[in-house]
């Protein structure tokens, strides 16, 4: 537990020169109060209407729950049992929610071969199913961007393409959370509901998130998603293999993101999007292992990162053959 705690001194230092209403203590109620004072009641209520909706379905126990990193093993077990029961009640499915922790000595890195990715979007669909995303919006943590040749500026591409791929004058750029080593999303969270773990994965405690969406705005890769409504997933389609910090069914009004499928990868398995990729464009591994595939790619291929100039230091690389 000690090593998962966010670095308090660093946070305090960096918050000193921020103009946003940053609250350093760990109480959500204080943040909400602060918000009211700053914004004016009516505007604030309108802005957080999904939050109000969420509040209605929040039980007292849930509201009193501690931050993930402050839960004792017994408290964690209680929380997980409660969440499993809730899923059973709301979705009619028996699920197991594990608490997968980082494997010591691992730092996960992803790479995509843009010479072979053809934009078919199977990864997008695999993520949708694996992570119990809302069926009515087809939500997924991955966007594949159709790019004009000759630029790596993701803002120049479009996600609206369809039909037969690949198109001759285009290349395809799948974008998901880059698990930045300097994550701006973590910096801006006023309640520390999102943080970076030792294996590099940036996670969200969905029960601590207040849904302010600062992180969504801060992410230069548009990697975060907001739950406008309770996800709809038919019980027989619900992936029962879940983890607290990843694919368990998320409540309405919170932000979520790609977790490199930590409920799989922290058990040694490959991420779902990689397994689904029919072209073999995706490579995943532990960069601390000298013999890993990912190390070989970084040493032998022309490797790019997105929006390098922002200094976010992604743990996600793109390469060409």
């Amino acid at each position: 537990m000690t090593n998962t705690e966010p670095n308090n001194t660093q946070q305090a230092e960096s918050s000193a020169n921020r103009s946003l209403p940053i609250v350093e203590n760990f109480t959500r109620r204080a943040v909400v109060k602060g918000g009211f004072a700053t914004l004016g009641a009516a505007a604030f209520v309108a802005a957080v209407s999904p939050l109000r909706q969420a509040a209605k379905s929040t039980t007292a126990v849930e509201f009193m729950q501690q931050h993930y990193t402050e839960l004792s093993p017994e408290q964690k077990a209680d929380v997980i049992a409660r969440l499993e029961a809730e899923t059973k009640e709301k979705y009619g499915a028996d699920v197991t929610i594990a608490d997968d922790r980082p494997i010591p000595g691992t730092k996960f890195v992803y790479a995509i071969n843009l010479s072979v990715c053809n934009g078919n979007g199977k990864c997008v669909e695999a993520c949708h199913k694996e992570n119990n995303h809302d069926r009515s919006t087809n939500q997924s943590y991955i966007r594949v961007i159709e790019m004009p040749k000759g630029t790596m500026d993701m803002e120049k591409g479009s996600t609206t393409y369809s039909g037969i791929v690949p198109k001759d004058d285009k290349f395809y750029l799948p974008v998901q959370c880059q698990q930045c080593d300097e994550p701006p999303c973590v910096e801006v969270c006023p309640v520390k509901a999102t943080w970076k773990e030792e294996d590099g994965i940036v996670v969200v405690d969905y029960n601590w998130c207040i849904g302010c969406r600062y992180c969504e705005a801060a992410c230069p890769y548009h990697a975060r998603r907001f739950n406008w409504k309770q996800p709809e997933v038919p019980s027989e389609e619900l992936n029962p293999d879940q983890s607290y910090l990843s694919n368990r069914v998320r409540p309405v009004g919170v932000v979520e993101k790609c977790t490199y499928c930590l409920h799989r990868t922290r058990r040694g398995k490959l991420p779902a999007c990689l397994e689904a990729c029919p072209t073999g464009a995706r490579v995943f591994g532990n960069i601390l292992d000298k013999n890993s595939n990912i190390r070989w790619i970084l040493e032998n291929k022309r490797v790019y990162i997105l929006k390098e100039e922002l200094g976010t230091k992604p743990a996600f690389f793109y390469y060409f053959d």
Binding site: Y161, S162, V165, K269, T279, Y319
Partner: protein
């Protein structure tokens, strides 16, 4: 006065002695630390070898090829015969490159794999096997050996997980990894990866066409403010 001087001298001596001791102690310690680091490295290497308990399994293609017969038998069943049924008794045309110059059986086939002849890869002396560039025979199941002769760059990438699809485990200490072979994805006669049709699309705001009414309205409204 001399007493004070000798006292002073004694203090100085003690100081020197303790400094020397400290230096000695540190160097011994660091030697120790170095030795233990080396030992650790050895151990971690050994344990790394021990850790890779599970294999990387490359799926093997099926054996010698068969061809579907046109037509069906009176019961409506289709049938296939091994290519070698005919080819083992026929004279091989070593120059042939295209379907047009072959018997009716092959008319529907397309070949688009560089400018190579059939017998660049198929074995004229053993129709249930392939052949390498040096003429030696290689089984259909080991077709990757054949492909790798020309496509060594891809083979190198494949060996390092940077070419070809896979599933299973990234961590071989916890489970095996399964990989495709060349002809799982590339038809050896037409090896270019086929075009695909996009199926699944999320409905999020980034999927709105960038010149849509909605966005233009949004910008106009912004301008007014």
């Amino acid at each position: 006065m001399p007493r004070i001087a000798s006292l002073f001298f004694a203090v100085l001596l003690c100081l020197f002695a303790s400094m020397a001791l400290a230096v000695l102690w540190q160097s011994v310690n660091s030697a120790d630390a170095h030795a233990s680091r080396v030992a650790e490295a050895h151990m971690s290497q050994a344990s790394a070898n021990w850790k890779e308990a599970h294999p990387v399994i490359i799926r093997k293609p099926s054996g010698p090829p068969r061809i579907e017969l046109a037509g069906t038998d009176p019961q409506g069943r289709t049938a296939s015969v091994a290519c070698s049924t005919c080819h083992s008794v026929r004279q091989a045309n070593l120059e042939n490159k295209a379907a047009a110059t072959l018997d009716e059986f092959h008319q529907g086939m397309t070949f688009n794999h560089g400018n190579i002849t059939c017998y660049a890869c198929h074995n004229p002396n053993e129709s249930d096997a392939l052949r390498l560039a040096d003429g030696s025979s290689v089984a259909y199941e080991n077709v990757m050996t054949l492909c790798s002769q020309c496509h060594s760059k891809q083979a190198d990438s494949f060996a390092h997980g940077a070419h070809g699809g896979m599933n299973g485990h990234w961590d071989l200490s916890r489970g095996p990894q399964m990989k495709n072979n060349c002809i799982d994805c590339h038809d050896p006669h037409v090896p270019k990866y086929p075009k695909m049709i996009v199926g699944f699309k999320p409905k999020d705001r980034f999927n709105e066409p960038s010149n849509s009414e909605h966005q233009q309205e949004g910008t106009a409204a912004h301008d007014k403010h």
